[in-house]
Symmetry: C2
Subunit: 461 residues, 2 copies
């Protein structure tokens, strides 16, 4: 694009279908406030500065860890420094699983070669015995295939190698179509006599980085170790199995589960000037996996909601109803914070809605609103305020894991929708670092939440 | 985001306001074709493979260079290999400016320090004398400021240091507000007796990479050399000038303008089955600056339009009207290809519209359509086909530099709108490399063009 083409470029991006008409009219309700929020946010890009602090000074924040505890302190200090109201914590008990110093794996070929492969324990896995588990490998693409091959599974490492479906538009849907391998692979493997589960990483990216994430056991099935293998490693193992069915894999894990510890949600507010008892929750989660920086998942969401309140406060935009930022603890590994928040007695309070941001710090596209056909239009009517940042596509259906307990209580839950094509490239892995976050894209997410929560606080539903 | 939250995540992203209603209805016109295009594109991500070839095997393609000539050959071969129809070139004469082996600059402080700074010649600049130009510096933020300080300008290097306005939503608009410094800085500097123009790079990113781009001279004003300085360098120079007004800067450039050479647009088609004489142009530009890989600008656009035709052909979707992919030559430095295309006599042909993609290989948001209020709805009606990839925001006003000559002839011009927040981080610099392009984001742009051009070819306007 050359220099004078901006003359063409600008109207393309800045013009809405009725811009000319609008220019001749008075601004519509809240358009001036929305413009102020947008300009202040983009000028400062404050969200990114906060995320640098969280990502680089504290780092990843696995629930139960000392970094997670530091993140709670960081959240309190940040909110207090910004002058939020009612800054406090609400305690919850959380699990404490640790990865341990050793997680290694190798392919042992029939002709004596030893080929190291990149793996990582899945969250919640037991350790292997000392020197690890060494066994032949049964590769499957589904639990049904595993059941059909159950006579061949005994004593083997079960290698779950169904990729995410690239033809899906929404990588979240492709993730949903593959992630049962990670969550339930160990149970399914052990049920047919397998000795470990090795799961293809949940990403469409072809690289050598394993992606962790939670898995579970059930009481009636023996526990076997479970690890993720990088996509490059998975493809290599697949190729080698095609020519060497009797190769073995050795996996060594030293992870362990320690006693539960106390942690907390971090909360700060702008108290409503007219109906303080009516509450709009805006939330992200403070914990992350112990990989990378936990930058997109969900450092981004944590700073989104702090920045949304900061923008309103900085601009003197006083909500009539209370907007409450909640940094939930332990979204990744049990939802303790979300459950504790929903269970807590809050006499006299009424939740208008809860908005979660847990899809990364990418450019926002809109909001998904989990409301019925009567309530939905009361949210969708504000899309024109978000159209200037191309985030005005408000669709039905939405929420988030942390606020799913509130949904069960009848609260309308809403999710920030962002451009999701890169999310699983980084998710739960050493790729999820601050350099993958763009300051302006991140800020636009905070701006979207500030505008949407503010107008809901003013007008209710 | 934890594993079972996809249950919430998927409906958020995949649900439109009337999904439930739609599922009970017949598909709307072209929905099946659009779904096929989306699935085939995302499954293959073929556009990225082509861009790897163009970016890595040929590299940057400055107009007039041997790489630009190779790119023409690449375009022909690629289109022929894919089985397009009427594959041919249409010649045009183009300028041939070369950067030369030396471009260096240093700050010379009053106390004798020599601090190297990263610069690059602006496209079209003359060289400096041997050993360069060494002079004191006059910093200004605008041409008006320069005029008000014209008595201090004689013999100085004029340092144009007005940043892009970060508060603008659209970086293209911020670019538009700063780029006159690059285009006209040398003329304005020389008009008041300045000996060179040093221009802050056109990016909001703070880094040490200078961004080039075109500049111009006018016959009545002496020519002085013009270079871009990185944003880090610009901030450094600004800081040093605050404490050392008499520092000097040395700039050495060895660029030169050689005689014009012949080059060409590359063209391939799917000929319309019913109205072959009615043409929809889809175009990007094959040339780039001589920095990075020219990956986003506009390798992305070049492969977008090839891939759009490939998708239709692969799926057996035969357009009723002709869809013509045009790889324009020299968008960056004179629009020769665009002018030649528009001037050429094409007996019996009628252009329905021309669609340009020259905003990078980022996720598409929609199309800007430069049509009047009567024609516009005939394009906007197809937004539902693009909504599934979140690219359905069709707005009024749009086009592109290469097709601006067609617009003058009354052809409706359309621009692909993409997520533009990162574009100027890379634009015209060594940052514009293939690793900055995401295969799925790139492919979605090609998919959007395939769907939109196909449905226009079927239904006309």
């Amino acid at each position: 694009m050359k220099f004078y083409s901006f003359l063409l470029f600008v109207p393309v991006l800045a013009t809405s279908t009725n811009l000319i008409a609008q220019n001749l009219q008075e601004p519509r309700p809240y358009e001036i406030a929305a413009k102020q929020i947008i300009a202040e946010g983009l000028q400062s890009c404050w969200a990114f500065s906060m995320l640098e602090n969280l990502s680089l000074k504290i780092g990843p924040r696995l629930v139960g860890s000392s970094q997670a505890a530091q993140a709670v302190e960081w959240g309190i200090k940040t909110m207090k420094d910004l002058g939020f109201q009612n800054v406090h914590t609400e305690p919850c008990m959380v699990p404490h699983w640790i990865r341990g110093p050793i997680e290694e794996a190798s392919i042992l070929t029939s002709d004596g070669k030893i080929i190291p492969i990149n793996i990582c324990a899945l969250g919640g896995s037991i350790a292997t015995m000392e020197n690890g588990v060494t066994a032949e490998v049964l590769q499957v693409k589904s639990f049904d295939e595993l059941k059909s091959l159950s006579d061949k599974a005994k004593g083997k490492i079960i290698f779950f190698n169904r990729p995410m479906d690239k033809s899906k538009i929404n990588p979240g849907e492709a993730y949903g179509g593959a992630v049962n391998q990670r969550g339930s692979g160990a149970v399914e493997a052990a049920a047919v006599g397998g000795v470990a589960a090795l799961v293809r990483s949940m990403t469409m990216q072809l690289d050598n980085v394993p992606h962790t994430g939670s898995m579970h056991y059930i009481d009636t099935i023996p526990k076997v170790p479970a690890a993720a293998i990088s996509t490059v490693g998975a493809n290599l193992l697949d190729s080698l199995l095609a020519v060497d069915k009797n190769l073995k894999v050795n996996i060594q894990l030293t992870c362990q589960t320690l006693p539960d510890v106390e942690s907390a949600n971090v909360i700060g507010e702008l108290i409503g000037t007219e109906n303080p008892e009516e509450v709009i929750v805006i939330g992200g989660h403070l914990d992350s996996w112990d990989k990378g920086h936990g930058a997109h998942d969900d450092g981004a969401g944590s700073v989104h909601v702090i920045e949304a309140l900061r923008l309103l406060k900085e601009l003197g935009l006083k909500p009539k109803r209370t907007i409450r930022a909640v940094l939930f603890m332990n979204e990744e590994f049990g939802l303790n914070g979300g459950v504790a928040y929903a269970k807590r007695d809050r006499p006299g309070e009424k939740h208008i809605c809860a908005i979660e941001t847990d899809a990364g710090g990418f450019t926002p596209r809109g909001f998904g609103v989990g409301a019925d056909s009567i309530a939905f239009p009361k949210f969708a009517r504000w899309s024109y305020l978000l159209d200037p940042i191309d985030a005005g596509r408000i669709t039905r259906g939405g929420g988030g894991a942390d606020i799913s307990e509130l949904a069960k209580l009848g609260v309308i839950t809403i999710g920030l929708r962002v451009d999701g094509q890169k999310y699983f490239d980084y998710h739960h892995s050493d790729n999820d670092t601050i350099d993958k976050v763009h300051p302006r894209e991140l800020e636009l997410g905070a701006i979207a939440i500030a505008i949407f929560s503010y107008v809901i606080a003013q007008e209710g539903i």
